[in-house]
């Protein structure tokens, strides 16, 4: 018995931008996540609940503040690229 394993990737980042995942960063994150076909989720720090990173409403509801640790995980063919792109976005302080 073998299950078909989809590629997976994950990363943990610390929000270093001024406002954390406020409205505008949440929009940028959602737009970035939507470019990938993989399922992409995020979770706050030590919380066990995962949220759809492609839903701007769910991302905003997290109210992740500056200094928060956020975990991302992706599953799908472009999981690696998706996580790299998201980490890059966070490190650029959600700019552009």
């Amino acid at each position: 018995m073998s299950e078909t394993q989809q590629p997976r990737a994950e990363a943990t980042v610390t929000l270093t931008n001024d406002v954390g995942l406020h409205a505008r960063p949440a929009v940028r994150l959602t737009q970035t996540a939507a470019k990938f076909s993989s399922r992409i989720e995020l979770a706050l720090g030590n919380q066990s609940e995962w949220h759809d990173a492609k839903s701007v409403v769910k991302v905003m509801r997290l109210k992740a503040k500056q200094g928060s640790e956020v975990r991302f995980r992706a599953e799908g063919d472009d999981a690696d690229a998706a996580i790299r792109s998201i980490v890059d976005l966070v490190e650029r302080h959600f700019d552009g």
Binding site: A23, V27, K35, S55, V57
Partner: protein, 130 residues
């Protein structure tokens, strides 16, 4: 997704509210999404006007569809009336989202900017209330 980007229409009793909500979409989401707005009645007071709403819908309409965000009472009725004035084959492509206009405009605009289809864009607006 092949039909292009869903457009966003904003209807408020107040032109300032409608313009401001549209500006928030432009600044937060970007210019990849067409945003139309109208507010105020024909006399320049608070209100909405079906003919103006129809004009906005016609300006921003695309085959991908249009999601309308409307505020109170008459805004919804006049938007429904405007949709009924569209050619029959376009009426189903213009949807009124059950969502607060500012929040709904930004969340549905974000979803539209990702190339999502009409159903997903409506859902993104309505998810805010859920």
């Amino acid at each position: 997704m092949s039909d292009g980007t869903v457009a966003i229409g904003i209807v408020s009793h107040s032109p300032d509210v409608a313009r401001g909500a549209a500006e928030m979409v432009r600044q937060m989401v970007g210019t990849s999404v067409d945003v139309g707005w109208t507010g105020g009645n024909a006399d320049g007071g608070l209100g909405t006007d079906a003919a103006q709403i129809l004009s906005v819908i016609e300006q921003i309409w695309t085959p991908a569809g249009v999601v309308m965000l409307v505020d109170l009472g008459g805004a919804e009725m006049n938007t429904e009336a405007a949709i009924e004035m569209l050619p029959a084959d376009r009426q189903a492509t213009v949807r009124i989202a059950n969502a607060p206009i500012v929040e709904g405009a930004v969340t549905s605009g974000t979803m539209a900017s990702t190339g999502a289809d009409l159903e997903a864009v409506v859902a993104a607006a309505e998810e805010f209330g859920g």
